[in-house]
Every structure is written in C-alpha cells, then in structure tokens.
C-alpha cells in the first residue's frame, strides 16, 4: 500500500507551498491518501519514541525524567493516530494501521524511520520533526537541522547523498489546505456524523483529554491524549490543527490558515496550547540537557533497528546491508519473537476495534468496548517485554555488551478479513502461536536470577510467562464463547 502511495506523490514540488496533486487523483482521493500517510507517520513516530523511551536507563535520574517525557509524547501520538482514523471515517475512507519496517520512507516523513536509542543526533531529528516550519532560522535552533542531517548521513549509509529532514506538521498543513477548500473537496464528501468514531472516553484512560491540563505535581508529566470526534469539515480542520499544534505550537497553524474563507473564519476557533506543552518545546528542553551527557550514561546499549530476521546476511557486528541489527542470542531472539507476536496481536485487536466501531447500527458495540481493553492489555505486554529486551544480550559473545531491544517488526498483515468468525479465528491463532512458543521460552529461563543488589531471587520472567499463559487461556475461553454465538 505504502509503496503505491509513494509512487503517487513522487515528483511533487515542496509540500509546504500551494497544494498540488497527481492528475489521476481527485482532491478527495488525495486528501484520504495523505491522511493515510499521516496515520502511518503517527504510528511510526509513536514506535520510534517508544523505542527511544525504553532504551533509557531507569537508574539514571535524568534518563528517568526523559523517559517519562518520551512516553508521554508517544501516548499523545496514539491520540493523533486515532484522531486521524476518525477524520478518515468522516470522509468515508478506510482506516490505516500500516507502516513500513526499516528501511522505509515516504514523502512527508520528517526523518527516515529508524528505531534507535536516544542520542543527540536522534533527538535532533525528533526536535526538528516537531519544530514549526521556519523556526530553524532562529539562532538557538540553527544547529539542530545540521545535527539531524549529519545523524541521518552517519546512520543510514544508503541516504548519504540526500539526508532530508522535515517537519511532521507539513503534511497536516497540506491536508488542512485541501480540506479547507470547498472547491477541492465538496461538502458531500463529509458524512455529517460522528458514528463510527472513537473518543477519549474509550481510549483516554487516566490521561488528560483536555488541552488545558497541566502536569500533575505528584506524577510529573501527563499525556494530553487528544482524541477528537469530528462530524463536520470544520471540526476535522480544527482537529487537524490541534494535532499539529500539539506537536509544534500555534505558529505553524497560523501560517497555514487563511487561504480560503473557511480557513479564515476558523482561525479564532483553533485551541491555543501553552508553548510548554508542545512536543517541540518538550523535546527541545531535553535536547539542551541531553547534549551535555554521553549516551552511555543514560541509555542501554541497544542497537538500531533490531531484527529477528534470520534470513539475511550480516557483518561481523550483526548489521545487515540495509542497516538492521540481528538479534543473535537465542534467548533474546525468542523474547523478541514473543514481542513481535504481542505487537501483532495489539494491531489485530486495534484493527478489530476500528472495524466494529464503524458498523452501523452498532450491534456489536459491547464487543468493541471490550476489545479496546484487550488492546490496552497488549500494550502492557509490549511494555513489559520491551523493558526485558533492553537488558538482554544481543549476541552470545560475552565481550559484546550490546543489548537486544524491542524489534517492533510489522506483522505480515494488518487488514482483517470481512467475516466476523474469521477475525476471531485470527485472534485465536495468535493465542495458539504464543502457546506454542511458551515451552521454549520457559525452557530458556533459569529458575533463579540475581537482582540489582546481587541477591538471588526467583526469575520474574518465569512468573511473567506463567501469568501471561493463564491470561491468554482466559482470553481463548472468552473467544470460544463468542464463536458459539456467531453464525
């Protein structure tokens, strides 16, 4: 899908200028396509931020703080991802949970997708990605672009000639311009309904859904998970502006508005975020602090783009020709496979929820609500396994102190089959797949391990696997119950 999309936009001029489109697409098609790209970019950013967050050591006070900031921003990206799906629903377009694996790049991406520990270079990419266009000329921000481009050149050998970095907001700026123009996308393209959309109610959990929320003095930063339902063109435009603003701040939005009557009249309606709450400001504050430290102090020694792919050749360091790093330690490899499997389950539950919420009338809304909880259950697994992988060896070489890291490899499918029964069977098949790898996972674990203080304790990995197995068994029974009731 993404390769096809990429083809459609090849050759476009600078996206920040007046919108242009490929001649074979209508503006409506083009807006839907761009929103799908937007969804995949949000997904990719979320995963990159999560990887960077998990790579941060929990025994370093600064790293602990940065980790919280990264996780907070990743949660906010989840809100963006869901809001984009809502806008797609309003336009009658398909939802999109796809994203490429490394190496992968699409137009409008801010920087090449790369899972990597947080360094000055990678953070420069994120700061620049979330920076309002035009700000880079300011004195204090001048060096960031150079650092980001150098980082890309250093880390992506195949990109040495074109180390482009961009701003995430550019894409939304573009979509706003298209959707804000009635001549381009007529009213009939908007469904005038919130049916089929998710809201903060389902996904917000304990995070704020309110742009005015402030960090909780007891808990440090708190995510503002903005998940907006949209029933009209104007609401969609405001939601897009808000996403963009949460990333970059108002300055970018104000520049983007004004080309059409609709956009001009919406200007005063755009919610105002405090600068301190934007991703850009938060990343930039981190950047200033982090530049003074060596990554070894605050980061686990995890590789870039860890992979479970056994099929490709690699160099002496385990790095493949396309820049991925192979996890070679057998135990780490098993856990990385489990990680990928749970990530696949998460995406399947999420896709299922997005499918069911769009049904009209919603006869299965109770299932949809329950599936949302299943998505959260898998998020807990992803977090738990990621935190284990960043401590597990990458290779069998005792001299090699590199750690494995969560691979976040995309599953072979994200769309679901149309028949309900088949979808539930997919969930069952994933549970069966996990069940099949439990024995090997368990076999590879020592009964006792040493804790941080050197004291011998029961291996928590075993307790975790057993609890996971039990919870999966319960989920399997639940699905069996549902299958009984399906035609």
């Amino acid at each position: 899908v993404l390769v096809r999309i990429e083809r459609q936009i090849v050759g476009l001029s600078d996206p920040s200028s007046k919108p242009e489109k490929p001649p074979e697409l209508s503006w409506y098609d083009y807006a839907v396509m761009l929103l799908q790209i937007g969804a995949s970019i949000e997904h990719a950013l979320m995963v990159q931020y999560l990887y960077a967050a998990y790579s941060m050591r929990d025994d370093h006070p600064k790293a602990k703080k940065w980790r919280k900031v990264m996780l907070t921003i990743a949660r906010e990206e989840m809100g963006h991802l869901l809001t984009v799906q809502n806008i797609l629903t309003l336009l009658g377009g398909p939802f999109n949970l796809d994203r490429g694996d490394y190496p992968w790049d699409v137009p409008f991406e801010a920087c090449p997708f790369r899972l990597e520990p947080l360094t000055k270079g990678s953070l420069a990419c994120y700061v620049y990605a979330e920076m309002p266009p035009g700000e880079e000329i300011k004195n204090k921000l001048k060096g960031i672009k150079t650092t980001a481009e150098k980082h890309i050149r250093d880390t992506s050998p195949h990109r040495r000639t074109e180390a482009h970095v961009g701003h995430v907001g550019t894409l939304y700026d573009y979509v706003i311009k298209i959707l804000g123009d009635r001549e381009k996308v007529p009213d009939i393209c908007f469904k005038d309904s919130e049916i089929g959309q998710f809201s903060w109610d389902e996904w917000g959990r304990n995070y704020r859904g309110d742009k005015d929320s402030r960090p909780d003095p007891n808990d440090g930063p708190r995510a503002n998970v903005l998940i907006r339902k949209v029933a009209t063109r104007e609401e969609a435009l405001i939601a897009l502006a808000e996403l963009s603003e949460q990333g970059e701040g108002l300055v970018a939005i104000e520049k983007g508005l004004g080309d059409t009557d609709i956009l001009r009249s919406l200007g005063p309606n755009i919610p105002k975020f405090a600068d301190s709450l934007t991703h850009f400001t938060r990343f930039h504050e981190m950047y200033e602090e982090l530049s003074k430290l060596s990554p070894k102090e605050f980061s686990w020694n995890v590789p870039a783009n860890p992979t479970t792919d056994r099929s490709v050749h690699h160099d002496a360091k385990g790095v493949t020709a396309d820049g991925r790093t192979k996890i070679q330690n057998e135990r780490s490899l098993r856990w990385a496979a489990l990680f990928n499997l749970r990530y696949r389950m998460l995406l399947a539950w999420l896709a299922h929820a997005l499918t069911l919420v769009r049904r009209e009338p919603s006869r299965s809304s109770h299932l949809c609500g329950q599936i949302v909880h299943r998505v959260f259950g898998e998020m807990y697994n992803i977090k738990a396994i990621a935190e284990m992988l960043v401590r597990m060896p990458l290779t069998d070489n005792p001299q090699d102190d590199r750690k494995a890291g969560p691979p976040f490899e995309m599953p072979f499918r994200t769309p679901l089959p149309p028949r309900d029964r088949d979808v539930w069977e997919i969930h069952k098949a994933s549970l069966a797949a996990v069940r099949n790898i439990y024995p090997d996972l368990l076999k590879g674990e020592h009964t006792k391990v040493k804790d941080a203080s050197g004291e011998e304790i029961a291996n928590p990995a075993i307790a975790y696997l057993k609890a996971m197995k039990h919870a999966d068994h319960d989920a399997d029974q639940w699905i069996d119950g549902i299958l009984v009731g399906l035609p």
Partner: protein
C-alpha cells in the same frame, strides 16, 4: 523466668455469627498455584483446636476441606486469644500455666463488650447494651449477657460466651476463646396498651423481646420525624448532637423498604442485634493480688469485634483493615521496593472486580431499566449531587470478565519486573470529590468510600504502587497472617508483625486482613468512629468535621468545624463537569454539599499527622458554631475570624502495643454506626461498598455474545440470569427473608461460585 510485660495476641480479632454448634475450622489462604497465577487464592486448612465440653483442648484436627455452613446453619468464627510474655532474658513466649505456677502466679481474664447501635441513634445512655464478665480465673463458660436500662426485667442479648481454655499437657499454653452470638434479632416487648405490628416477626420469640416498649426505640424516627428541615432546625439538631449516621437510617424500618423508597421516612421496628465490640483483658495474679512491675499491675488488652460471616472467604478486599491499621502504625510512606505489595493490591483489585457486575455498577441501563433505579455509585452520585446520572466508564467496555482480565494483564506485566505506570491512575485522597469523568475513572473505580464518594486507597497503598520500582531494599511485608514461630522470629525487628499474627486454631476470617475498611458504614467495624477523639480534648462526628464535644479549656471549640490541621485541608472540594463544557470543573453546590466541599475521610486525613515528630498540631476551626459545612474562607478578613488552637494528637495504639487505644473508642463504639440489625447491611449496602465481602455477581461465565453471565448473589433462584438489585423484587432476598433465615439464604462464595464442599 521473669515476666517484663504480658501481651494478648492477636491485638484484634473478629468473631463471626453462626448458629452451628461447631465453630468453623481453621484455615488460611495461599497464592494460587504458580501455573495458574491469576486464579483464585487457595483455602489451606490448618490445625483446628477441638475444645471439649469441659473446656480443654481434646485434639488438633485438620479438616481436609472447610465447611462454612452445614444444613443451613453457619459455623461461627470463634477466635482464640493467647497470652504471651516478654521475659527479662529477651525472649517472647506464649505463656503456659506451668511456668506461671512456678512463680505461684495465675491468670485472670475479663471481657467487656457493648452494642451501642441504638444509642448512636437515640443518644440515650439507657440504650447502651453492655456485658462484662468480672475478672475470672476458672475454666467455666462465661456467658456475655448484654443488658441495658431500657430492657425489661430479666431481658438480655446473648453476645456469646468466653472461656479460659483449660491447659493440658498437649496444649499447656494460656488461651481464651470468644464464641459469638448466633446472629439473632432482638425486639421490643409489647404491653397490653401497645399497638401490635402488622408485619409477622417469626424470628422474634418471647425470650428475644427484651426491649421495653416505653424505651422509645420502637417507632423511633430521627429528629422525631420532623420534616421541617430548615437551616434553623438543622442547627438545633446539631446543637443537640442529634446527628444522623451516614448513610442515614440503617436500621429495620416499617414498612420494610429503604427510606428512600418510602418518602425518606424511617420508622424503627425496634430491633437490636447481638453484634458487639470491646476488650479482652488479662492480668497476672499472685495470690489474690495483681502482680506489679515497676509499681504497675501487669495487664494486657486486646480488641474483639463480632461481625457477620465473611461470605467470600478466598478473596481479599482491595482496601482492608490491615491497610489502615498498618498506615496508622507505620506511616503513610513506604520505603524501599514495594513491588510485592503492589502486586497484591492489583490482585485484590481483580478479586474485587470479579464479584461486581461491572456493567450494572458502571451505571449502564440494564435490560431497558433506567440506571437510576439500580443501586450503584453513579446513581448515588446522581442523587447526592442532584444531577443526571452518567455512567462512569464508556458503557460498552464495562464488563466484569473483561475488566478483571485487564487488571490481570496489568498484574502479569508487573510480574515481569516491568516498571510501574499506573500510580497516576490512582485516586488521591484529596480527589475524593472530583466527580469529573477523569476523576471518577481513577482507581479503585465504582466503589464507595467513607465519604460516600468514590473510594481511594490508603496513602500507604498509594505509596506502595508509586515505589514499586524503588532500587532500595524492600520493607518487610507479610501477604498472609503468620504463625507463632514466624512471629517470634520477626517481632524483635518488626513489632507490627503482631498485627499479622494468627493464633493456632483461628480461621483467617477472624483476622483483620479480611475486614473491610472503606467504611460507609462498614461491615465488621465502622472504622470512621475510631478517629473521633484523636485530637485530645475534642470529639468529632465520625463522618464530619463538626466538634460535638469538647472538654475543659477547649469548651469554646464545641460546635465549630475543623477546617485545617497544620495548614493541610481537612475538606475536599466537590466538583463535577460543567454541563456546557465537560472538560472544565464546576463546584457542585446542592443540599448534600451546600458549600461545594466534603470532609475527607479521617483515616487518610489524619495519616498526614500521626507520625509527626511533634505531638502537637495547629488546628483551624470555623468562626461560626453549629453552622453548616462550609469551605475554608477565601478572604483574609474572614480568615481572621477563624479560631486557631494547638491540640495534641492522641496515641493511636495503647502504650507499646498494637491495640487501638481505648481512649479512641470504648466498647461498642466501633460497631455503633453499623446497621441495627446487621442484616440490613447486607440488604442495603450493595456490593459497591465491599464486593469481596458482600458479593454481587456470582457464578460468572463468559456468555455467547462476549459479555459475562452470572447471577446476583442475593437472588433466590440460580436458574435465572442476573437480576438487578431491587428492594421490592421478591425474586431477591428481601429484608424479612434475611431476618427470618439469613443462614439459609446467603451462600458462601468460593472461586466465584456458590460453595459446595466435596
């Protein structure tokens, strides 16, 4: 052997009603098997002491399976209290008679209990029912006959019996057993002139009609049924200390429906029960004189409470009495890694969820019925705040098995050593009045607190979840009660181990770990009452900041309201979402919260000051006396009118022990706020008060449409699907069914299902 000090253990035990002649056998709980870690805790039978007719221990038995009820008779919980001693040589031992005899010494016991439930309503001292043994050293059965000035001649309530167990060579240690009453209802004796009740009362035989009809309890109404509740009459009622319990009424009324279905009239049917609380005391005698150490009699004390059965014996509630007692003893902060504690709290959370019909408790409409008709926290909130009912969570996701599964996934992730992420999900005590969607969705959700709002954990529990990743070594923590050997090992380092001690022969249901502590009003204790006299010189209402009694030089504080202690708020703001913009808070002003504030529950409120280095606190009181609940004034002019007074904080525990001080609560005071009779608690306090002790949703299975299926614990016929709680639906156990045959109609729940041994 020289005795330095004697100690009765446990410092607090619960006896529980039942009319079966044999007490329930001893058991404890253990974690589920490692292969099914998310399953139910296992009931583990332990040695049971079989006491002969003459009062010695015949043998130790271990039932392979615990029988909680046989032939519709519940086996009572009859705990043992043991006498231990600290010796001069540093040892801490369970005393034997033989050792005492070597010193020509012997033990005497005294037990004093009371039931002040009627007194709590009528405020007449003639309604305090109390019983006391004199000091005794023999091994005869001592009857605890509760008497009261308003009883007819010869009338008494059977609070149970106590017996100093006769030591023998196999069991030479000194112990006393408390056997509770059967869980009976006592009523009013009519004279020829009295109008007879229209309701049949087969559960009241002549022997149990003990209360004089002239005493006033029969037909009693709060404030004499005065419906003219103006500000002036309310003020006068407060001045008379005629302050209702919260929730109001909580006694058997005529007609048999809760007052809110009866135009808020609550006319007492004149019932009392055989619940009580009080003290067990021991002293060492030499000849006929008490043995003295440093000029003081060598005595010891423990608390006893008598309560209904623990109906879900292998579940523990998310906030139990040990949580509050431990906070009072050890403070609000956990030091060191607390992962194991946090895991246990999450386990208790899903144990609690399992017994709740989450869809109904969430405020969802049920089978087309308006959610306002169902007794739930969102409905309570709607009534209390005079606003429309709003489900707490997005309704489609509110399902018991699914929510339990989500908690289990969180538990699973924590098991891996994963960092904690959900501390910010917890409700802070100060957020009790935050009724925004975000506030109501904090954890624990859907449960009632001592403020009649949404429950918060203890500050210490919150601290445990916050510090689960701490790199510092863990503080000692005991998930289950310990035996004598463990106590002897732990006590020298950790005196609070006494709280977790469970004597040989006691079932777990006697231990405070199974007692609930989110008291509104409570089940075993109304633990709110323990805080009323914490500040020396004044007495507060158990649920409010009003000073109702003040001594000597503090007399001027009487009638004022406590607003701040050391600059910390005693009140919490009650806010809800602005109807025009739900993301913004709006102070909720209504009859229940006239100034948009509520008094924070005392346990978490006082936890901030109990461990201050200085025993003195600076208290700020309202300027007005006997006025309504008001927020702390905003203007400095008004603030200058407030009364500031230094007060001393009383010790929570008796000197050097884990016994809650008698100065805080006299016999009967920890049960006085509970229902009279206790059966009303089971009818009126729906499961959102204490789901693991009073289950709601049982025999739960996955249904064919993905939602949970099961039955209401209170429904008579298990063939039907869940029947929504309704005080008039005869398919459910109603008040008189409980009064008549509670033992028959209430089923114990093990592993989430009606328990059938074998």
């Amino acid at each position: 052997m020289t005795i330095k000090k004697i100690v009765i253990l446990p410092p607090l035990a619960f006896a529980r009603f039942g009319s079966h002649p044999e007490p329930v056998a001893s058991y404890t709980l253990e974690d589920p098997s490692p292969d099914e870690p998310l399953g139910h805790r296992k009931i583990k039978p332990e040695p049971t002491l079989i006491v002969s007719q003459t009062g010695d221990i015949l043998r130790e038995d271990a039932e392979p399976e615990i029988h909680f009820k046989e032939k519709d008779k519940v086996r009572p919980v009859a705990p043992f209290f043991e006498l231990w001693a600290e010796l001069n040589d540093g040892r801490f031992v369970h005393l034997t008679e033989k050792e005492l005899k070597k010193q020509d010494a012997h033990v005497e016991w005294c037990v004093e209990v009371a039931n002040r439930k009627v007194f709590r309503r009528t405020r007449s001292k003639s309604d305090i029912v109390s019983a006391s043994t004199d000091w005794f050293g023999n091994h005869d059965l001592q009857e605890l006959h509760g008497k009261c000035r308003n009883f007819v001649a010869g009338g008494f309530v059977k609070f149970g019996t106590v017996r100093y167990i006769q030591p023998n060579p196999q069991h030479p240690q000194i112990r006393l057993r408390f056997t509770p009453g059967a869980g009976l209802i006592y009523g009013t004796k009519f004279t020829g002139k009295d109008k007879k009740p229209t309701i049949k009362e087969p559960f009241l035989n002549d022997e149990r009609r003990v209360y004089k009809s002239s005493g006033g309890w029969l037909g009693w109404q709060h404030d004499n049924g005065n419906e003219d509740h103006t500000e002036e009459t309310e003020k006068k009622a407060r001045e008379r200390n005629d302050i209702e319990t919260i929730p109001p009424s909580l006694f058997a009324i005529d007609p048999p429906a809760p007052p809110w279905l009866n135009e808020n009239k609550a006319v007492s049917r004149g019932y009392l029960d055989d619940a009580c609380d009080g003290f067990v005391q021991a002293r060492i005698m030499v000849g006929d004189k008490p043995l003295k150490i440093n000029g003081k009699d060598l005595t010891a004390k423990a608390r006893i409470g008598v309560a209904p059965p623990h109906y879900a014996p292998n579940s523990l509630f998310v906030r139990n009495l040990i949580d509050d007692l431990e906070q009072a003893y050890a403070g609000r902060d956990i030091k060191g890694n607390s992962r194991e504690r946090a895991l246990d709290i999450v386990r208790r959370a899903f144990e609690t969820v399992r017994y709740m019909n989450v869809a109904v408790m969430n405020g969802n409409p049920f089978k087309g019925r308006n959610a306002l008709e169902l007794d739930t926290m969102p409905a309570e909130e709607a009534f209390g705040t005079e606003r429309p009912l709003r489900p707490v969570f997005e309704p489609t996701g509110a399902d018991t098995r699914t929510i339990a599964a989500l908690h289990q996934r969180a538990y699973t992730a924590l098991k891996s050593g994963s960092g904690g992420w959900f501390a910010k999900l917890l409700r802070q005590p100060e957020q009790a009045g935050d009724l925004s969607d975000e506030g109501r969705r904090k954890m624990p959700a859907l449960m009632c607190s001592a403020e009649s709002l949404y429950l918060a954990l203890t500050r210490r529990q919150i601290s445990a979840i916050k510090h689960l990743d701490s790199p510092e070594p863990a503080e000692p923590w005991l998930p289950y009660p310990i035996n004598a050997e463990q106590l002897q090992e732990l006590r020298p380092r950790n005196r609070s181990a006494e709280l977790m001690y469970k004597p040989l022969g006691n079932p777990l249901s006697s231990h405070p770990i199974v007692a609930i502590s989110n008291c509104c009003p409570g089940l075993e204790f109304d633990f709110r009452a323990v805080w009323r006299r914490l500040l020396v010189g004044i007495t507060l209402v158990e649920w409010d900041n009003l000073v109702v009694e003040a001594e000597g030089k503090f007399e001027d504080l009487r009638g004022r309201r406590l607003l701040k202690i050391d600059d910390e708020d005693v009140l919490a703001k009650v806010t809800g979402p602005r109807p025009s913009d739900p993301t913004k808070p709006l102070p909720l002003i209504c009859d229940q919260y006239p100034d948009g504030v509520v008094t924070m529950e005392w346990s978490n409120s006082f936890a901030r000051f109990l461990h201050k280095r200085s025993r003195c606190v600076t208290c700020t009181f309202s300027a007005e006396k006997w006025g309504p609940l008001q927020a702390y004034p905003e203007t400095s002019k008004e603030q200058r009118k407030l009364k500031v007074q230094e007060l001393e904080i009383r010790d929570f525990f008796e000197d050097g022990s884990l016994v809650v001080s008698e100065e805080l609560a006299e016999p009967g005071e920890l049960t006085q706020g509970l229902c009279s009779p206790w059966q009303n608690d089971f009818r009126e306090c729906s499961c959102y008060y204490w789901a693991s002790a009073r289950p709601d949703y049982v025999n739960v299975e996955p249904g064919p449409d993905g939602t949970s299926r099961g039955q209401n614990w209170m429904q008579k016929d298990r063939a039907h699907d869940y029947i929504a709680d309704d005080y008039r639906d005869s398919r459910l156990v109603l008040y008189d069914d409980l009064f008549n045959a509670w033992e028959e109609v209430l089923e114990f729940q093990v592993n989430g299902k009606d328990y059938e041994p074998g």
